[in-house]
């Protein structure tokens, strides 16, 4: 199969899974109850998934081993973004400053 076909099936599969998850409780109603432990575990899903995705992208942006150095703009900008987010809790501000540092570091400091 070509990549286009595989990706189309990926999207169809994602849609089926997501719609099932979203609708099953509303449609079946009280015939379904989630165990308390599962509910508690689900609460940790967003922060763990997102963190696990970005940490390798920050530490090894070129997929060639650890780049734990000030010459890694991903790392520098990510550290700044974490600080901005922790102090302001403002999403858009965090994104703007993080991107500004990322591009500024590449074009200004490292160029």
């Amino acid at each position: 199969m070509t990549a286009t076909w595989i990706n189309t099936w990926m999207i169809v599969g994602m849609a089926v899974i997501t719609i099932f998850i979203k609708t099953v409780i509303f449609v079946l109603g009280d015939r379904i109850t989630l165990p308390a432990l599962l509910k508690q575990a689900l609460g940790f899903v967003p922060v763990t998934v997102l963190t696990a995705i970005i940490v390798p992208m920050i530490l090894a942006p070129h997929d060639k081993g650890m780049e734990f150095t000030w010459r890694n703009p991903q790392l520098v900008a990510a550290v700044v973004a974490v600080i901005v987010s922790a102090t302001t809790r403002h999403q858009l501000l965090t994104i703007f400053i993080g991107l500004a540092v990322f591009f500024g570091w590449q074009l200004g400091v490292l160029a």
Binding site: I6, I21, G29, V49, T51, P56, A81, Q91
Partner: protein, 241 residues
């Protein structure tokens, strides 16, 4: 508020969702731009927004496509990431259980983090409202239309400026995730869960099919549950992503 008409309830639902629409707009643009940079066709990006309609899983799928993860891993990640919608549905079920099935199908498809937040506060104020489902429909459709529009803008934007990719647009996703994660780490179990997942994700990243990502998530959840058990303050608060 119980004498509101369906129409005015619908409009109120749209109106009260406006802050969420503004907040979601940049994510739609970033998602659309990432699509063109990461092997998907533009129409596939729009199809994903139209049919999946769950932003964080769409971002994760794009990231996993870029990382050449296998199809099953992407589907499993979609399942895990979107499971929180069951929590939302369980919380809102008492207010919609009386509706005809077609309403329950429609409203549950339109449920997102944002509309859940809006509906949760609405039903707390108006638990008996006979037109609450119209308000729900207004909120959900406003989010849906908004997401389609900004996805399209991002797709066009990314096609016009393909050099965005070489500039490192993927970092927009990294910084977006940071902006989502950090405010949720105020309590120790969540902080510990994210820390453990992050620490494990790097050494495990080389495993095939991105299994390392799933292992890191499971370890993180385990750490979070263990920390929550130690403290009396272990209420479940799903993160809004």
């Amino acid at each position: 508020m119980s004498h509101l008409t369906p129409r005015s309830s619908f409009i109120a639902g749209c109106r009260d969702t406006i802050p969420m629409l503004v907040g979601a707009a940049p994510f739609g643009v970033i998602f659309g731009s990432l699509v063109s940079a990461n092997l998907l066709k533009a129409w596939q990006g729009q199809l994903m927004s139209l049919s999946v309609f769950a932003g964080s899983s769409q971002f994760i799928a794009i990231g996993l496509v870029a990382a050449q993860a296998g199809l099953l891993v992407i589907l499993f990640a979609t399942f895990i990431v979107n499971l929180r919608h069951m929590l939302y549905a369980a919380a809102l079920l008492p207010y919609v259980a009386h509706l005809p099935a077609r309403w329950r199908w429609l409203l549950s498809f339109l449920m997102t983090d944002e509309t859940f937040a809006v509906m949760n506060s609405y039903y707390r104020l108006h638990p008996q409202s006979p037109t609450g489902h119209w308000y729900f429909l207004g909120s959900g459709l406003a989010m849906y239309g908004n997401w389609q529009f900004w996805t399209l803008i991002g797709l066009l934007f990314g096609a016009i400026f393909p050099q965005l990719q070489t500039l490192g647009l993927d970092f927009a996703m990294v910084v977006t995730f940071i902006a989502i994660i950090i405010p949720q780490l105020t309590r120790l179990p969540y902080f510990g869960a994210a820390l453990a997942a992050g620490i494990c994700a790097y050494p495990l990243r080389g495993l095939p099919y991105k299994i390392g990502l799933l292992l890191a998530v499971l370890i993180g959840i385990g750490v979070g549950l263990a920390l929550a058990r130690k403290k009396p303050d272990n209420k479940v608060l799903p993160g809004a992503v």
